[in-house]
């Protein structure tokens, strides 16, 4: 039970919440703006990058993961790793399905 009392129930200072909120709002405007200009192949990765950054901000600060136990980190990371396995191995089929067989 040693890991039970690790998490300090400390209170996040107000400015942190407001800075995160401003960053999220700015990210929303930025991703919208980026979608109005044609950057070719780059549009999709840019949108993905901004969305991921926003999600990480919410997870770390609004959801207090930055102060949470290592176990919480493991749970979150594991779920994304598993999702990654689904994506990678499924796309491994789709992206090579029509390769020529010699």
């Amino acid at each position: 039970m040693a890991d039970i009392h690790e998490a300090p129930h400390d209170v996040t200072p107000l400015p942190t919440y407001f800075f995160v909120f401003i960053a999220l709002a700015a990210g929303t405007l930025l991703t919208w703006y980026a979608s109005t200009i044609n950057l070719g192949w780059a549009n999709t990765p840019i949108a993905l990058f901004i969305a991921t950054t926003k999600a990480v901000l919410v997870i770390l600060f609004f959801m207090h993961v930055i102060h949470s136990t290592r176990l919480t980190w493991v749970v979150i990371i594991a779920s994304f790793v598993w999702l990654g396995m689904l994506f990678v191995l499924t796309f491994a089929d789709y992206l090579t399905r029509f390769w020529a067989i010699d």
Binding site: L24, K54, V58, I59, F87
Partner: protein, 230 residues
């Protein structure tokens, strides 16, 4: 504490300490971990349909581009801002519950609920528009511009309605849970010692926000940019 025998009855019982736990700390850790584990399953649940979406996006870039143009980017963008704001008020509600300020907690919880309802209202407006445009998949579906692409445009709309519908369902559940949390906050159940339900509610609410953070670009902003090999 490993070499001390703990008798449950030696504790002064907090009214919301459940019998299977030794103390409120253990209970708090268990409930937040429980919610995180639940959210992990939610990540895979939404992730699964997202993968299906990506595969068809890879196969049918033209249909995705056409369908993407049917989306109301302004409504989607405003909704994103509404949800982000609701996340802020939710985080502040958790904070004020931690600090033991009942009135502020109630105000922020109520604001969160209001923003949640606003989101659903705007979403309903969009749904209504799509319905009248004949963009609801099934026998109702109409698409005249490029008949050969119609089934694939419909496929996009299946994902659009399916993913936003699942998200909206989570929002409705979230608003329902907020009603319950507000009623408990009203009865002064929360304080610095015991605020796990607010915290857990917050985790759920933020997660639903994160889902939308991804859905917005995927469904509104980038469908018309093709994929991978452009």
């Amino acid at each position: 504490m490993s070499d001390v025998t703990v008798h449950a009855d030696e504790h002064v019982h907090h009214p919301f300490l459940q019998h299977q736990f030794e103390d409120l700390g253990q209970q708090h850790e268990a409930s937040t971990l429980g919610m995180w584990v639940f959210l992990a399953t939610e990540i895979l649940f939404f992730g699964g349909v997202l993968m299906a979406y990506w595969i068809y996006r890879t196969i049918y870039p033209e249909a995705w581009a056409l369908a993407g143009e049917q989306q109301n980017t302004l409504a989607g963008g405003i909704n994103t801002l509404v949800l982000i704001t609701s996340s802020l008020t939710m985080a502040l509600a958790v904070r004020t519950a931690q600090l033991g300020s009942r009135r502020a907690t109630l105000v922020f919880l109520f604001a969160t609920m209001l923003f949640g309802a606003t989101f659903l209202g705007i979403k309903a407006y969009e749904y209504n528009a799509h319905w009248h445009e004949g963009l609801f998949p099934g026998s109702h579906f109409t698409w005249h511009e490029n008949p050969e692409l119609a089934p694939k445009v419909q496929l996009f709309m299946v994902f659009y309605w399916g993913m936003t519908g699942l998200h909206a369902l989570h929002m409705v559940i979230g608003v329902g849970l907020l009603v319950w949390i507000i009623s408990r906050a009203w009865r002064s159940h929360f304080g610095p010692e015991y605020y796990s339900p607010v915290e857990v509610m917050g985790l759920y609410w933020h997660f639903v926000d994160i889902v939308w953070i991804f859905l917005f670009p995927f469904l509104y902003l980038i469908p018309h940019f093709g994929v991978l090999h452009g």
